[in-house]
Point group: C2
Chain length 224, copies 2
C-alpha cells in the first residue's frame, strides 16, 4: 500500500475547526462495545503517521488491539495498575474512597473500571535508543501521531483518551504483545463510541490570555 493510495475522503465530513474544537477526552463508552470498521481504523492510523517526527526517522510503532480477549486482558491490567497507584499514593482501594470533589480522579477511576467496554485499543511505542545508541526520549516524534490519531477518531464519531500505564505492569504488557527489546510504550489510547451523544464539545481550559505570552514570559497577548 503506497501512501498516495490512501483515500482520506471519509475524514472530510467535518471541517477542521469543528473537529479540533470538539475533541474531548472520552471516559464513558457504550456498555456493549460496537466494533469499529477496519477501514475506519486504517484511515485513523494513516492520519496518525502523517504527523511530523524528528528528521523523518519515524520511530513510532503501533499495536492496534481489536481482539476482544486481548482488550479484556489489557483492561484488566490497566484497572489493577490504576488502583495500585492510588493505593500507594492515597490509600484508596475503591471508588467509595475517592472524595466527591475529586472529579477528575473519579472519572478516571470510572474509566479504569470500564476499560473493557472500549472497541479497540492502540498502544503507541517509541524506541529507547537513537541511531547513535544513546538513550533518547522520542516523545516529540510519537505524541504528534497520537494527537492526529485521536483527532481522526473524533472526526469519525469515535472517542479516545490518552492514558499512561503504571511502570509495574509494563513488563507484562510487553510480554503479552511480544514487544521487542528497545521499544517502549509512550501511551495507551482506548477507542470507542461515547455513551452520551453529547460527549464531544468544547474542552474546559484556562484562558489563553493566561497561558500564552507575547514576546516575553508574563507579557500579555493583545487579545487578553
Amino acid at each position: 500500500v503506497s501512501a498516495a493510495a490512501i483515500d482520506h475522503a471519509r475524514l472530510n465530513a467535518m471541517p477542521f475547526g469543528d473537529v479540533v474544537f470538539s475533541q474531548r477526552s472520552i471516559r464513558r463508552y457504550r456498555p456493549e462495545p460496537v466494533p469499529i470498521p477496519m477501514e475506519d481504523l486504517q484511515v485513523i492510523m494513516e492520519a496518525a503517521v502523517r504527523a511530523p517526527n524528528g528528521g523523518n526517522a519515524q520511530p513510532a510503532r503501533f499495536v492496534l488491539i481489536t481482539d476482544r480477549a486481548r482488550i479484556e486482558k489489557m483492561a484488566s491490567l490497566y484497572k489493577d495498575a490504576w488502583w495500585a497507584k492510588r493505593r500507594d499514593e492515597y490509600g484508596w482501594r475503591g471508588i467509595d474512597d475517592i472524595p466527591a470533589d475529586e472529579k477528575n480522579l473519579l472519572s478516571a477511576a470510572r474509566l479504569a473500571e470500564t476499560m473493557d467496554r472500549v472497541s479497540a485499543i492502540v498502544l503507541a511505542f517509541g524506541r529507547a535508543r537513537n541511531r547513535f545508541g544513546q538513550a533518547e526520549n522520542d516523545a516529540t516524534s510519537v505524541v504528534p501521531a497520537i494527537q492526529n490519531l485521536m483527532l481522526a477518531a473524533r472526526a469519525l464519531g469515535i472517542g479516545s483518551i490518552p492514558t499512561r500505564l503504571h511502570p509495574d505492569v509494563l513488563e507484562r504488557v510487553y510480554d503479552l504483545f511480544g514487544v521487542p527489546e528497545g521499544a517502549y510504550l509512550h501511551l495507551m489510547i482506548p477507542l470507542g463510541y461515547p455513551a452520551s451523544p453529547r460527549a464531544f464539545g468544547l474542552s474546559r481550559r484556562l484562558p489563553t490570555s493566561e497561558t500564552v505570552f507575547l514576546n516575553h514570559w508574563g507579557d500579555a497577548v493583545p487579545w487578553a
Copy 2:
C-alpha cells in the same frame, strides 16, 4: 476571554482530512517575512490548548514571538546552536561540508541558515516538576497542543516545523525571554508562509503495514 467566546470559523475553510493529509514540515519560507494577522495567531493558540493533557493539569505555556528583533535574535541562537551540534558530531562547519545525499540534513541546515525569514516563533514549555515536586517529563501534556497548533496553522496556509534547541543555548533563551525557574522548553515552532505554493502535500512515510501491527507485535494488519 472565555473559551466559549472563541470563533473558530476561520479554521473551517478546509475539511479535516485535507488538513491532516497535507501538513508537511515547512523548511523554506518567503524571503521577505509577512506578518501573520493577530486574529490568526489567536485562533491557532486557541486550537493548541484544546488538545488533551494529563488530568487537565494544563502545564503548557507558550511564548509567541512576533517582534522582529526577537525573532532575529532567536534565529541567530538557533543557527549557532545547529552548527555547534554538527561540528561536534561530524566536524561540519558549513553547508559545503554536508554530503549531497544527506538530504534531510541539508534542508535542516538551510532552515537554520534562514530561520530569520519566519513570521513568528512559538516557544512551547512544560514544567520540570509535577504537583508532588517530582521531576517529570510532561511531553504528553504539551506535544499534543503543539500538533494542534501546527495543524491549525496549516489550515490557514501557514507553514511550521517542530524544532529542538541545543541544550547549550537553552540558558541564553531562558534569560532572553524571562523564563522562570521550573519551566523548560519542549520545542520551538517557527511559523511562516512557505516559499513555494506547492509546499504542502502528502508527507513521505513508511507504509502503515510496516509500522502498525494487529493484536501482537509483528502481526500484519488486514490492509497489508
